[in-house]
Amino acid sequence: MNYSQNELMIAAAARELHGARVAFVGVGLPNIVCNLAQRSHAPNLELVYEAGVFGAKPARLPLSIGDPTIVTGAASVMGMPDLFQYYLQRGLIDVGFLGAAQIDKFGNINTTVIGDYKKPKVRLPGSGGAAEIAVLCGKILVITRLGKRAFPERVDFITSPGHLDGGDARKNLNVRGRGPEAVITDLCILRFAEDTREMTVTSLHPNVTRDAVQANIGWAVRFADQVETTAPPNAEELRLIREELDPQRLYSR
């Protein structure tokens, strides 16, 4: 079956939500991923949107994470103070799903600036809720397309902390959540080594070579001892993406 690299990435990312009960949905790609998971293998997945929604059942893919479709039919809609204090800070959310303009070797995410903060080359939107999602969710999953500028050895600015300098750095700072667990890209899946917390390629998408991955990463990336091949999207996942979630092909072309 024919599929695009983006469709494969979205389907693979949705599968990472196996076993999750409550997911905090980030803007952009995470949104289609979490909605695909809810419509395929995880019908009971509770979607939490920072706009103030717990238990969303979107009838269409919300373009924005504050779309009215996340309200109609939701389990609870509340002000943002309640959402951030009682759901996120209280510790009720297992998984935060985030995008990243830049992510480094230890999973630190930058969505603030490329270049110097005071004189940026590119000014990005900023944190939104990501800085606290990265700290307060049980774990973090990241979806972003691979590319040399997107995967520098160190990010220009840590908006949302990952494993910081690696090793026990996160634990030593008493950061509550366990931090990034996997990064799903259009070429491969990367996870973080148990000891060093360095991002490591654990699965290559079909027909993707190690060289192609390395060419899109800004440091000498490590490969796991056993590198798997990512399962392609199945017919039902493709149908959901193409017909229900992204008929305009904004994310999955």
């Binding site: 952009g28 779309d67 809609v77 603030t112 700290v135 840590i158």
Partner: protein, 298 residues
């Protein structure tokens, strides 16, 4: 609207025109642009298109925010030009995360000296913004970040309905509308519909903002377009996508402002000019079950 903005928004003011994705009062933003207000410090969690337009029009001196993007689309181009190239003028930034901004409004609304948030650990944001500070808990070994209160001069809040006194009801995403109102010195409420006081009193759980703190009620149907009002009209997603193209160049953005802001007298004229498009945004119905508050007599 003209009188409310003229009388309650002054040059140099700190203004919070809030709304999280829904109920963003573009009508007020456009009136601020038309009246050529200057040197405003604009606050909002998610300065989106309305703020991009005000920045492009030269209204804004400083931005206090946590996410300056075009939600679901990408970057805000006028905001980027201001920050990266100082065009049309330099823009001072005071940047937080959403929780930090939420905490600032809570502290502002409750007149507290600061608000603690379990966030910012390991982030570079406290270095970029020294107003995000870490303190020692007075009750244990824990250290925690705190943010200062935010008390705007004026809050402008869109809502579905209010009575003439200003008792205001909102449903759907309520964002920080309530906190921003209580935090501010002056409050302008802009509504889709003016209703009788009895309508408000029949459902008091839905009243977020009491007349006690409201200085002006403005009735402005479609005042939040291209954002939305739950139950009234949908988000005009196509416009958010189009804005990315319109705003790429200062010239096309200025031409848009000429046609849709300077070139119309008020929101009613905008809505009339936009009528065909607005009619397509009406959602189907999804009513809640009525609830029984009970009648309790002596």
């Amino acid at each position: 609207m003209h009188a409310a903005i003229r009388d309650l928004v002054r040059d140099g003011d700190t203004v919070a025109l809030e709304g999280f994705t829904q109920l963003i009062c573009f009508a007020a933003a456009h009136e601020i642009i038309r009246q050529r207000k200057r040197d405003l410090t604009l606050c909002r969690l998610t300065p989106d298109l309305a703020y991009d337009q005000m920045i492009a029009a030269g209204v804004c001196k400083k931005l206090v925010f946590s996410y300056a993007g075009n939600p679901g689309v990408g970057s805000l181009q006028a905001f980027r030009r201001a920050v990266e190239k100082n065009e049309p003028r330099a823009l001072e930034l005071e940047e937080y995360s959403h929780f930090g901004m939420v905490g600032r409004y809570i502290a502002g609304a409750a007149r507290l000296p600061f608000y603690p948030v379990n966030s910012y650990v390991g982030s570079d944001l406290p270095r970029a913004n020294p107003r995000i500070r870490q303190i020692q808990s007075p009750y244990g070994d824990e250290k925690i970040y705190v943010v200062p209160p935010l008390n705007p001069d004026v809050a402008i809040l869109h809502a579905q309905r209010a009575d003439k006194n200003g008792n205001t009801q909102i449903w759907g995403l309520t964002g920080v509308q309530k906190e921003a109102a209580f935090a501010s010195q002056r409050v302008i409420v802009v509504v889709e519909e003016l209703v009788d006081e009895s309508v408000i009193r029949a459902d008091p759980n839905r009243t977020l903002i009491p007349d006690l703190i409201v200085d002006a009620v403005v009735v402005e149907p479609f005042g939040a377009h291209p954002s939305y009002a739950q139950g009234y009209y949908d988000r005009d997603n196509a416009f958010y996508v189009e804005w990315d193209t319109i705003a790429r160049e200062a010239a096309t953005l200025d031409a848009w402002l000429d046609e849709w802001v300077y070139g119309v007298e008020n929101r009613a004229a905008y809505a009339a000019k936009m009528r065909a498009r607005l009619e397509k945004l009406k959602p189907g119905d999804a009513f809640a079950e009525p609830i029984n508050y009970g009648e309790y007599k002596a």
